[in-house]
Symmetry: C2
Subunit: 349 residues, 2 copies
Amino acid sequence: MKRKLFERGGQDKDRVTLADVAAHVGTSTITVSRAIRRPEMVSEALRKRIAEAVDTLGYVPDPAAQALASRRSRVIGVLIPSVTNSVFADVLSGLYDTVGKTAYSVQVGNTRYDPLTEEELTRVFIGQRPAGLIVAGIDQTSNTKAMLERAGCPVIQIMEFADGPIDSMIGFSHRDAARAATEHLIAQGYKAPGFIGARMDPRSQRRLNGFRQALQEADIPIGCREITTVDPSRVGLGASLLDTLLERAPETDAVFCNNDDLALGVQFGAQRRGLKIGAEFGICGFNDLEVMAAAYPAITSVRTFRREMGMLALQTVLDNLDDPEKQPTVTDLGYELMARASTDRQTGR
Amino acid sequence: MKRKLFERGGQDKDRVTLADVAAHVGTSTITVSRAIRRPEMVSEALRKRIAEAVDTLGYVPDPAAQALASRRSRVIGVLIPSVTNSVFADVLSGLYDTVGKTAYSVQVGNTRYDPLTEEELTRVFIGQRPAGLIVAGIDQTSNTKAMLERAGCPVIQIMEFADGPIDSMIGFSHRDAARAATEHLIAQGYKAPGFIGARMDPRSQRRLNGFRQALQEADIPIGCREITTVDPSRVGLGASLLDTLLERAPETDAVFCNNDDLALGVQFGAQRRGLKIGAEFGICGFNDLEVMAAAYPAITSVRTFRREMGMLALQTVLDNLDDPEKQPTVTDLGYELMARASTDRQTGR
DNA sequence: GTGAAAGCGCTAACAC
DNA sequence: GTGTTAGCGCTTTCAC
């Protein structure tokens, strides 16, 4: 087994610097620096020779030195509450795709649904003089909000659409989306829809509010058909929450689930109980993960635009960086109800 | 809508530096630096006053300056082929958990299953003088491998267990795991197991090899029961690949799927066809995502230790950083066959 | 269009 | 234990 060679220094001596490139070409470091960052400022001839030297010497810029000298890093900080939750994984995927071949890089902080962790991470991120900051949600502590307002870089809030953005905002109304889902259940003829929710972070809470609002407007009493837990969401949890729901409120004939994992679990649980999905029991999820359309029977859900949110958020940072005069934007990405067999009363099964 | 305030400088003037803290306490910058990084080198009295000053002034270290001066950043680079694939999301979750309250941070590069993107990202990452590097797989280009060998930091290969590690390695044998799964199908009495695979990256390929090996050892001809595609895996794809499989090889009575998404899709497809899962048709997935146990019927899979892999990889980097004399380690995390109803021939459905 | 000088905020190396 | 001196590799500012 080979020995380690990173005791210190190591290949650090052979690091190729701007000065090396400059010497090779016979010009000054600043010109090389310009040739790389703003080619239009350097004559074509020089530019070409510099490009060649960069190539042959294998020069790679030192981001630390760049950041220190320019007082700006090329890191775009992203604060999300979870990395495993596929909702955020999709957002990340959009971010990574868009950051792709730009000179910027994405650094993700996992707040674990904890506002204080978020505050701490915000402090650290801002200490890096980030090029931009993308944060999930609108429920930051007042300290966090104050820091973000003075961050000195574009700040994009994602996942929500609401009043009082810190800077730019890209998302949708969780309440409206949930209300639409519930209205769909009612329109399909279900008489006693219930709600199943896990984690119950602020976004889940807003979805619950949308559910309540729809029932209220339809003059349907809620009864005991709201089953929630702070436990993280899992498919397996769907079935157990369904058990609780049907025990407490046997009249329930449909359920709006906080997210798709729960909905899938509810469907498995309902099948185990021998319920006819659709005809006897309606199921609606939230987010429209790919599995929903593929399930048997296919499960109704509310489609949300997660990758798009990531892409647009990153692009918004880039746009703001390009043009510092650019005004903040607030974008509603909306949602789309995907009605499928699981809420079709004609579906026997 | 508020005006932007990040035109440049902004709050940069009020940045609290080591010098500010030193002045406040009446000592030198280096002492403050030491008080923070190696408290045992500073007298208790001073240390306490410095801590207070740091707090009241709100000092946050500048990672760029640290990296530049020490020629080492506190960034641990992670190169994975996908962020949405929940397999890697789980690994990431383990990484983030472990990096948690350390002074290090994780930076993820998405290679998109492309060796050249991986090479490019490796070059950029190494240019950051990372504290450590965690890379998925063993199929790097020779250029990439050469760079990693000279990276001057701990390098951990994850997701595989094989010969010739670059430095440390943590994973398991995909071939052995797949062989075990296939042997299970055979032991359960299925006579003509097939293979369904998507993406077909090197790890999938090794799993296919394990499948072949098991059939060969059991003297079962493979026939046309290998259905693969380079398309990325989706649940929906499972059903279509099942269609292809049963068309080409109607004798098939069980299937080993490259991953759990496909297995779930196969199950939905089989249900749609009215096949009795288990009794008539066996299904085995790979990775044992949470949904597999929750499905109805529950689906057999091969459990892999993804979060653990992330945690251990990060910990290995930290250990190597603590003790540069530490020798590289190679760890086999193994796998575990989770036999469930979907491969139980007694299961009617 | 190009360059010289200065310094970003921190730490390594060597004093004391 | 603590301080001094020199940078790290780059960009800013201001000259030319």
